[in-house]
Symmetry: D3
Subunit: 321 residues, 6 copies
C-alpha cells in the first residue's frame, strides 16, 4: 500500500496510508441504523473531511479529536469535493511512527511562509519605531505573547484559519500598511501599532488546541474587539509616562478596525491611520479568501464554484494572458 | 416690567425680565451686514432659543456662555416655536441679585424628581444585593462617582438631557428592571448591576459644565460603551476575589446594552439579563422622548408636529376618554 | 420492555414504549429505493422527530397525523439532536390504553403553568378595568373566545408554540405591562387591552388541531394584524356608546404592536401605551425563545449551539456565580 | 393694473391682480422684529408660495386659510422658484366678484381631465363587471362615496395632490390594469376592484377642505390601508351572499397594494392580481411625480433640478429626436 | 412496458419508458460506498430530477449531459417532489428511435406559445416604428440575432428558463409596454426599443446549448447590462446619422432597466420610458415566477409551498369564485 | 486698501482686494424685497462663498460665472464658515490687471503637486508595462486625453474637486496600487491599467469649464462607469491583436471599481486585481476627504465639526504626541 500524497494533491483515485492531525470526530447513526464516524483531517497543506463507514464502533475507541493519527483509506468525490473513506485508523505512536516518517509539523495546516522569517521581519519593524513609549509597548506585547503569535490562526473559519495564520496576517498588513502610510504622510508607527494590536484580543477570544479552534467564554460574551481594548489599555497603563492621547489613539485603532458599526466596531474611523488600518485589514482578509477559494476549487472552468460568503464566483484565469 | 413666568409656561405675548443660565452664545452676521447674537437660555423647567438683534456688539461683552444672566425681553413665535427676543442682558451678580430672587437651582434645567429622593432609592437597592462581590463593586461605583451621578444628564440631546437626567434614567430603569427580572425569574441583581453600569462610561464620554454638554476626546475616539467596559473591568479587578465569570457577565451587559451592532454594541445580548437590560434602556429612552415631545408641543391639534428623530407624529389625546 | 421517560428527559440510550401525539407524518423514498416514515411526536414536556425505517409501508396504514399513538423504539443521536427510531407503532385505543396509563393531557405539548390558574388571573385583571366600555369589550372577548384562548399556542414555530402558549404569553405580558404602565404613569387599562387584543387575530390566522398548527386562508391572505383589527373594530362597534377615540386607540395598539413597518405593522407606535405594548411583546417572545433554546440544548459547553433565528449562540452559565 | 396670468404661466416679471384659493396662512416674526405672512395660493393650474411683507398685521385679519381671496402683487424669484409678493389681499365677496370674473372652479388646483368624463368611464367599467356580488359591491362603493371620489386628491403631497386627483389616479389605473390583466389572463374584475378599493381608506385618513389636505385622527393612528380594510370588510359583509373567498381576496388586494412591508403593507402580494395592482399603483404614482417635476422645472437645461424624493435628476429632453 | 406520460403529468405511480433531453449528469459516491448518478431530464412540458442507483458505473458511459436519451424507470416522491428512478438508460439513435416516436422538439422544455407566431408579432411591431433610425436599428438587431432570439431562454433559473423563453418575455413585454406607453402618452417606440434591447446582452452573458444554460466568461466578468450597452452602442453607431441623443436614451434604457442600483443598474430611471420599461420587466418576471410556482406545486391546499426566492407562499385558489 | 491673503488664509477680519475665478453666480430676492447676489470664488488654495448685498442689480451686469474677477470686500463669519461680503466687483482685464499681479494659474483651485511632475511619473509607469498590448492601449489613452487628464478634477464635490485632482488621484493610486500588487503577487500592470481607466468615463460624464464642474447629458443618463466601459472597449478593439480575455478583465476592472452594487457597480470584484483596485480607490477618496475636512475646519477643538457625508467628526490631533 503506497503512501498518500499531501492532502492538497489528493485526487479522486488516491489510495494509501498517511499521518494526519484529526481536528474533529463525530459519531452518527445512519439511516439504516448503522453508526458511522465523520472526521476532519489535516496536514500542513490542506484539510479534508473523512468518513469511517465500517466498524465505526470499534475505531471510535482508537483515537480522539486533537490527536495525530495513522490512516488507511481511499479518496472519493462527494458533491464535487474530495473526501477520504477510511478503512483503518489508529492514534500515532510517536517513537515508532517517527521511523516511518511521522513529523508533527507536517500534520498541522500551516501558513506557507516560515514562522521564523515572519517573526524576524515583525520584530525588526518594532525595533525601528521612533516613539519610545510606543516601541516599549509593542515590544512588551510581542515578548508576552510570542508563543501564541507564532502559532495561532487568524480566525476560526473565514480567513487565515491555519497555524501561523495570525502572524502571516499581521506581517503582510505591516508591509502594506507601511507603504500606504508613507504614501499618504500618515504616522507609520501608529499604523504598525494598529496592525499588531487590532486582533490581539483574539488570543483571548479563541482557544486553539491541537489544530482545532473554538470560542472561549470571554470570546462569546465580549468579542475580540473589547478584549483587545482592555489588553491595550492595561499594557499602555503599565508603560510609565505613556501619553494619554497616544493611548486613546491606539484604543481607537483597535475599536474602529472593522470600519463600521454593522461590522462590529462600536466607533468608526476618525483618523487617517484608522482609515488605513481598516482598509488594509479588510483587503488582506479578502485576498486571503479569494486565494484560498481559487486554490481549493477543483473544477475545470475559468471560474470557481459559487463562494457563499462573498456571494459570487471568482475568476481563476486572470494570469493567463 | 413684570417678571417672566417659568420658561415652560412662556407664551407668545410674555414680556418681562428673569434669571437664566446661558448655555450657548454665537455671534452671527445677518444678511444686512448687521451682527446679532443667538443664545440658548434655560431655567429649571425648560430651555429656549433667544436672540439679541440690537446692540449685539455691546451686549456680547457682558456675559459668556456658561454664566447665569439677567435678561429683559419679550417672547415671539418663530416657525411655530417660542423664542425670546432680548432687549437687555448682563451676567448675574450673585450677592445682589439673590435679593431679587436669583436661585442657581432654579436656573438649571433639571429632572422633575428631587435628587436626594432618587439617590436614596438607588443606594437602598444596592444595599439589598445578595451577592457580596457584586454589592461591593456597585457600592464603590456609587461612592466614587456620587457627585457626577447626582448631577449629570443622560445624554447630549436625545433623552434625559438635563441636570439629574442620568440618575432619573437609572432609577426608573432599576424600578422597571426589577419587576421584569422577577416576572421572568432572571437574576435581579445582575439586571440592577447592568442598569447602574450600562452608561457609566458617559461620565468620561461627556463633559458637563454649567449646563452645557460636550464630547471629550475619549468620548469621540472611544465612546461610552468602550469607556464603560474599561471602567467596569478595572473596578471588578479591584475587588478581591471577584469571580471571573461574573465580571465577564457584567462586561457583556455593558457591551450589549444597545441591543444590536447597528446601534453600536459590538456584541449582541446572549443572556436573559442582557435582553432585559437592552429592552428597558430602549423603552425608558423612548418614553422620555415621547413625553418631552408631547409636553413641548405648542400646537392645538391632537397630534404633535413631526418628530424627526422618531420619524412620526405622536398622539397627545390618549388620556381623554 | 420498560416505559420511555418523558420526552424532555430522553437520552441517547433510552429504549422502551410510550404514548404520544403524532403531529406530522411523511412517507419518503430513501436512496436505496426503500420507503421510510418521518414523524413528529410530542408529549406534555417536549417534541421529537421519529423515524420508521423498517416496514414503513405496513405501519403507514396504522395511524394518521393528528392521532394519539402507542410507540415502541429506542433513542439515537442524529446531528447532535435526539431522535426516536420506531420499531412498532399503532393508534391508541383510548378505553383499553387508559388502563395502561394513557392520558390525553400528557401527550400534548403544553405550557408549564396550569391553564385554570392563568385564566383566573386574566379574568381578575379584566374585572378590575376602570372604564366601563373597555371592561365590557374585554369581557366579551374573553367570553366569546374562552375555549380557544385556553388551548392555543401563541405561534406556529417561533415562540410559545405549545398548548396554552397563547394564554401564557398574554398573562405574562399583562403582568409585566401593568408594572411598566404604573412606572410611567401610562394608562394601565389600555395596556391590558392591548395585551389581550394584540394577537387575537391569530385565532383566525391559525388553525390548531390535534397539536398541529397551520395557516388558514385568511391567515395567509390577511395576517393576524389585519384580522385582529377587524375583530376589534366589530367588537367595539357592538358595545353601545363605545367612544370612537377609544376604539381608534385600541385599533392603533393592535396595528402597531410589531413596532415597525419592517416587522409588519402598517403604522408605528404613536402613544406611550403603544410603545409599551410593542416592547413587552418583543421582550416576552425573545425571553421565551432564549429559555427554550437553553433548555433544549443538549451540549455540554457553557453556550448553546448556534441559534439560527436569533443569529447568535446563547449563554447557559448565567446563574452559576 | 392688469390681471395676473394663470399660476402655471407666472413669470418673474408678472404683476397684477387675481382670484385664488388660500390653502395655508402663517404669521411669522422676521429677524428685524417685523411680522410677515406666508401663504399658499392656488388656482386650477398650479400652486405658489406668497408673502405679505408690509402691513402683515392689518392684512392678517382680512381673510382665513381656506377662503377664496382677491390678491394684488408681483412675482419674484426665490431660490429658483417663483413666488408672489402680495401688496394687497382681501377675501372674495362672491356676488360682486363674480362680475369681475371670479369662478370657484378656476381657483382650485385640479386634475387636467374633466371629472364628469372620468366618472362616466369608471361607472361604465363597474357596470361591465361579470360577477354579480362584486358588481353590487363596487356599485355601492361608488354610490356611497361619489361626492368625495369626484373631488378628492390622491395624496397630501407626493402625487395627484389636487382636486380630482383621486379619481384621475383610479381611472388611469383602471385603464392600465385592464390591459395588463388581459395580457396575463388575470381576473380583470378583481384587478378593477383592487384599483377602486386600494386607496378607499384615504377618504377617512385625510380631511380635504377648501383645497387643504390634512390627516385625521384615524388617519394618523390607523392609516389608509387599515381603514380601507375595515371599509371593504363591512361593505362586503353588507352584500348578501358575498363569497368569503372573494372577500378575503379583495381584502388581500387592499392590504398588499404597497407591495412590501417596508412600504407599509402588512402582507405582501400572493396572487397575480395583487402583483398587478401593486405594480400599476407604483407606476402611476411615479409617472405622475416625474410629469409634475418636469412641468414645474423652470430651468433651461435638459435635466430638472435634483428631485429629493426620487433621489435623482430627471431628463426633460426625451421627446426631442 | 408502457410509455411514460409528459413530465408535467407524471405522478408518483408512473412507470414506463420515454425520450428526454439530459441537461446535467453527476456521479456521486453514496454513504455506503456505492456510486450513483444524479441527472436532470426534460421534455417540452417540464423538467425533473432523476437518479440511477444500480449499475451507475456501467450506465455512466452510455450517454453524456447534453444528449437525448431513452430512459426506463418509475416515478417516486422525494421531499414532496416527483423524481424519476431510472432502471435503464442509453443515448438516442435518431434514425431508429424516430420510428418509435422520438421528436427532438418534444424533448426540449419550451415556451407554451409557438415561436413563429411570437416572432411574427415582434417583427410587425418593429416594422411599425415611426422613427427611421430606430426602425433600422431594431430591424438589424432582429436580423442579426434571429436564431438566438427564437431559441433562447430568458434566464438561467429565475424566470422564463426554457426554450423560447427569451422571445416570450420580449413579446409579452412589448404588448404590455405598448398599452402603458399609450396610456401615459410616452414614446411607444422608445419603450418597444427598450423591451427588445434591455436583455440583449444575455445572448453574450449566457451559453445555451442542448437545453443547458451556463455563464460565459464575459457573462461573469461583465454581466448582461454592460454587454447589452456595448452591443447597443456599436449597433447604433453603425446606423448612419443615428442621433446621439436617441442613442443615449436607448443606452439609458438598457442600463436602468433593473430599476435600482441594488438590483444591478448603475444608473436609475430618469425618463418616463425608463420607468415604464423597468416596471414592465419586473412585473413580467414576477408573474412568470408566480405562474410557474402555482403550476409546479403538487400540494392539495389552496397555497403553494414556501417560495424561497419570493419569500412567501402563493395563493392558488384565486379563480374559484 | 491692502491685497487680500490667499483664500486658505482668510480670517474673519480680512479686508482688501484680490483676483479670483467666479464659478457660480445667482441672483436672489431677499425677504425685504431687495435683490442680492450669491457667488462662489476660488483661487489656487481654496474656495469661498461671497455675497453682494448692495447694488446687486448694477454689479450683476459686470461679470459672468466662469470669468476671472477683481473683487473688493471684507470677510465675515456666517454659521461658523468664512464668507466674503463684496463691496465692488468687475471682470478682469487681463492685459492691464497682469500689471497688478493677476495670474490665471493662481486663481484656479488646484492640486498641491505640480502637474508636470505627476504626468512624468505616470507616463514612466506606463512605459514600464510588460505586456505589449496593454502598454500600447494605455499609451494611447494617455496621448488621446492628455489635455484633459492634466487639467481635470476627480469629481464634482466629493473628493479631489479641483484642477489636477483627477491626475493627483490617479498618480497616488498608481503608487499605492503598485506596492499592494507586489505585496500580494497580483498582476501589477493590470492594477495600473485599472487605476488609469477606472474613472476615464468621467471625461465624458462631466463638463469642466472655467473651474466649474457640471454633468453632461451622457453623464446623467449613463454615468462614468458605463461611459468608461464603452471607451475602454473601443480603445482595446482598436489595438490589433488585443487579447479578448485581457479586454474582458480590463472592462471588469472598470465596471467593478465601486466595489458593490449599492455603490453603482453592476458587477462586483471577482479577481484579486479588482479587489485591490476598489480598495485603493475607496481609500484614496476617503483620505482626501478627511484631509480636506481637517484643513478646512476653522474650529479650535481637537475635532472637526460634524462631517455630513462621512457621518462623524474627525480627529485633528493625531500627530501631536
Amino acid at each position: 500500500m503506497p503512501r498518500l500524497p499531501r492532502l492538497v494533491e489528493l485526487t479522486a483515485d488516491s489510495e494509501g496510508w498517511g499521518f494526519f492531525l484529526c481536528t474533529s470526530k463525530e459519531l452518527r447513526t445512519g439511516r439504516s441504523g448503522a453508526d458511522f464516524l465523520t472526521l476532519t483531517l489535516q496536514d500542513v497543506s490542506a484539510q479534508v473531511t473523512a468518513k469511517i463507514l465500517d466498524d465505526a464502533g470499534r475505531f471510535q475507541a482508537e483515537f480522539e479529536a486533537g490527536e495525530f493519527v495513522r490512516v488507511e483509506g481511499r479518496a472519493s468525490l462527494y458533491n464535487g469535493r474530495i473526501q477520504l473513506v477510511v478503512s483503518s485508523i489508529r492514534r500515532v505512536h510517536p517513537d515508532q511512527d517517527r521511523l516511518e516518517g511521522f513529523r508533527e509539523d507536517e500534520c498541522v495546516l500551516s501558513a506557507p511562509r516560515p514562522v521564523d522569517e515572519m517573526w524576524a521581519e515583525l520584530t525588526a519593524r518594532v525595533a525601528a519605531v521612533a516613539d519610545a513609549h510606543l516601541r516599549v509597548l509593542l515590544t512588551r506585547i510581542l515578548v508576552d505573547h510570542e508563543a501564541q503569535l507564532r502559532e495561532w490562526p487568524a480566525a476560526q473559519v473565514i480567513h487565515h484559519a491555519y497555524r501561523g495564520g495570525f502572524l502571516e496576517h499581521i506581517v503582510k498588513m505591516a508591509d502594506v500598511g507601511a507603504t500606504i502610510a508613507r504614501a499618504y504622510g500618515a504616522n507609520a508607527d501608529l499604523v504598525l501599532a494598529g496592525v499588531i494590536l487590532h486582533d490581539i484580543g483574539k488570543l483571548q477570544e479563541l482557544a486553539y488546541e491541537s489544530g482545532a479552534i473554538s470560542y472561549t467564554r470571554d470570546g462569546n460574551l465580549l468579542g475580540h474587539i473589547a478584549l483587545g481594548l482592555v489588553l491595550v489599555h492595561e499594557a499602555a497603563s503599565g508603560v510609565s509616562g505613556f501619553p494619554l492621547e497616544l493611548r486613546a489613539h491606539l484604543e481607537h485603532l483597535v475599536l474602529s478596525h472593522h470600519g463600521s458599526r454593522e461590522h462590529g466596531s462600536p466607533v468608526e474611523p476618525k483618523t487617517i491611520e484608522a482609515f488605513i488600518l481598516a482598509a488594509v485589514d479588510e483587503l488582506d482578509a479578502r485576498i486571503n479568501q479569494v486565494r484560498r477559494a481559487v486554490q481549493e476549487d477543483a473544477g475545470e472552468g475559468e471560474f470557481t464554484a459559487w463562494h457563499k460568503r462573498l456571494g459570487r464566483v471568482l475568476y481563476k484565469g486572470s494570469k493567463n494572458f
